[in-house]
Amino acid sequence: MAYALIALGFVLALNAAGAVNFAHGDLVVLGGAVAVLLAAWLDLPGVLLLPLVALALAFAGVLAAHVAILPLARRPPEQTFVATLALAAMIEQTLTLTLGAAPRTTPPFVGSGAVMVGGIPLGLQPLSIVIVGGVLVAALWFLLERTQVGRRMRAVASDRQMARAVGIPVGRYVPLSLALSGALAGVAGFLLGHQFLVTPTQGAGHMLKAYIAVALGGWGSVPGALVGALAIGAFETLVSAQVGDAWASAALYAAVLLVLTLRPRGLFGEPVGQRA
């Protein structure tokens, strides 16, 4: 479910910017780091920290849009890719310099114990990841499908020029989408950081998972990203139980190559067709 939050944030930024935000994985790490710092400073329970982290990362998302995405809007998408890659390296190095390379842990969301549900012990943290994730996915669905702001965001994503032609201020929706994208990344970083710790170099791994989820689900498709992320999570859990983590990753990459060879546009195709 945490993969789903990362992938959804990634696809929102992708649709708004029309280019890959390679710094997205590092925004997730930054979310974890902010949670670590805020917890040390404020001593608030996890439930109250969460909105603060989301807010801070929304701000970071807007900043990223202004630094590395908006100035390159009229250039080929590869340039945005390289610019955000540089931004990702900057975030990673800044975190290494300020926090050190040692892993830190974020506070738990509600508690670190377990509850018994029908005789099966369920960790509180994984449970809260699933619940918070589910609530956010539902909220995002509501925003995109049922509100005017969401409809406009989808319009900008599917045809930027047409959106401009009907009077949508496209320039304003890019930072807005990046803010949402950053907030989702922050929440994911916070929730993942308790169990899997926060290390500055994790960004590339998060990024790769989101990239795979979005490419498999169909480039730019929001439900596709969700399905792709859940599929990756399930695949990793099942396969790593059989053969261990390293070969599970190898199997994942091999599966990605195989899928792309057979279905060059992802498992479910692209929502927007290629224009000649």
Partner: protein, 476 residues
């Protein structure tokens, strides 16, 4: 120390030069270059005990072989999918390096293989003796027509295909040659350090290569070497900053992308002279096929019947105008003839050669040229027409050549078209300017909903009741 740095610059320069082929020239976001570097390093380390200095030759071969094997399926992919596939390939290589312990030494890597390899000044000499001719060869190759073809493939792949350029073959060549450069660079690096560990295949090497090429200049012949020099020397200069130098380096990369899109080498390059507007010189008669025939062609897009049982033929020295309302199938018909779309039914033939199963570049080479509605950025439609003619095409498919032209430009265009006809070319002309078409065309074909509703002399077709109703908007 200086010797080691100079060797390192040469090694990364070679890695970057190979990367420029795919990333710079063809704009393919290849993320496997770092892993191919690692493959070269391992290949050298594994074979050096048996082959001595010749192990360096194994490195480019191993990397090129892997690229040639993996290339065909992944090079078909579009931008993001291509990046992902190369990233997955790189991650696989990295995992094998880490976990196939019996073969690669696992996380500890391989050591103690270097006694037979060149080292010190000999290695420095060897690296630069490869790099300098490679940079020169790159400069010479991409200054001429090859560079122009690469530009078309990069900026307008469809146009490139209709000019007879086989994009798939180009991408494979660039990928394999680039991989050989990466492999050799990896082999040299194994000789330099005497250690090969999984880090050689890791993402940081890829990142270094990508940023060096972007900072130096993605296409300029000196771009890779300049970028490599900065990547090697900056950390030496900022040694006092410790980890801070990486931050500074990343910030510098971002600054270059934002303000110097052509990289540092862009500062060296002279401003390009403004190209003269294309004028059609004397058009020589061209040998080749005599007749283009479209017979019963159909094309569906999902539920939409774009073309339905379309038949007509054109010979040399003829101009046929295609008319019809928007969406009637005119551009689809041109695309189908040129091979950009594949017909679902019917045949298209040039004399006796069937075209309807050939890829666009093969059709172009048989003598069919094409222009598009929108010119490439920074060019005019006349440039597009000149380029199509320069392929020696006998039959030309012109999609709205007069759109957006002034009356005077239209008159000049009409004259050019008539000259082309006199030089034995056959022209199929799509346009909305019915007066222009009536003036120059020998015959008109009117499409409506993907079907031919009228064909014949311009005056006849214009007088046809159905044509008047569907296209001219005059009630019958």
């Amino acid at each position: 120390m200086a010797e080691r740095l100079a060797t390192l610059i040469g090694i990364y320069g070679l890695l970057g030069l190979g990367y420029q082929l795919v990333f710079g020239q063809l704009r393919g976001l290849n993320l496997a270059q770092g892993a191919l570097f690692g493959v070269g390093a391992y290949a050298t380390a594994l074979t050096a005990p048996h082959l001595g200095p010749f192990a360096l030759l194994v490195a480019p071969l191993a990397a090129a072989a892997l690229a040639a094997l993996a290339g065909p399926p992944i090079l078909r992919l579009q931008s993001h999918y291509f990046a992902l596939a190369t990233l997955a390939l790189a991650s696989l290589v990295n995992l094998v390096a880490l976990h196939a312990e019996g073969f690669t030494g696992g996380a500890n890597g391989l050591v103690g293989f270097g006694f037979g390899l060149p080292r010190g000044p000999g290695l420095l000499l060897a690296v630069w003796a490869v790099l300098v001719p490679s940079v020169l060869a790159y400069a010479v190759v991409f200054r001429g027509p090859t560079g122009e073809k690469a530009r078309l493939l990069r900026e307008a792949p469809l146009v490139a295909a209709t000019l007879g350029i086989d994009g798939a073959l180009w991408r494979l060549r660039a990928f394999v040659v680039g991989a050989a450069c990466a492999g050799l660079a990896g082999g040299f690096s194994a000789a330099l350090t005497g250690v090969v560990s999984p880090e050689a295949t890791g993402f940081p090497v890829m990142l270094l290569c990508l940023t060096a090429v972007v900072v130096g200049g993605a296409r300029h012949p000196l771009g890779a070497v300049l970028g490599a020099a900065l990547a090697v020397l900056l950390p030496e200069i900022f040694r006092g900053l410790q980890a801070g130098w990486l931050l500074a380096y990343a910030a510098a990369t971002l600054a270059v992308v934002l303000w110097l899109p052509d990289g540092l080498a862009g500062l060296l390059a002279r401003r390009r002279e403004v190209p003269a507007p294309a004028v059609l010189p004397h058009v020589p008669p061209a040998p080749g096929p005599r007749r283009l025939a479209v017979d019963g062609v159909g094309k569906r897009f999902g539920g939409l019947e774009a073309l339905n049982d379309v038949s007509f033929a054109i010979g040399r020295g003829e101009i046929v105008g295609l008319i019809g309302a928007n969406g009637s199938g005119k551009t689809t018909l041109l695309n189908t003839i040129g091979g950009l779309e594949r017909a679902d039914a019917g045949t298209i033939a040039l004399d006796t050669t069937r075209l309807d199963r050939l890829p666009p570049h093969a059709i172009a080479r048989l003598g069919i040229g094409r222009t598009f509605q929108t010119p490439i950025e920074g060019e005019t439609r006349a440039d597009g027409l000149a380029r199509a003619l320069a392929t020696g095409a006998v039959f030309l498919l012109l999609d709205e050549p007069a759109a957006g032209m002034t009356d005077r430009e239209r008159a000049a265009l009409a004259q050019q078209l008539v000259r082309l006809r006199a030089a034995g070319r056959g022209l199929i002309l799509v346009d909305h300017d019915i007066d222009l078409l009536t003036g120059v065309c020998d015959r008109l074909v009117c499409l409506d909903g993907g079907r031919v509703i009228a064909a014949g002399a311009p005056a006849e077709v214009r007088a046809d009741a159905r044509v008047r109703a569907s296209f001219l908007g005059v009630p019958a």
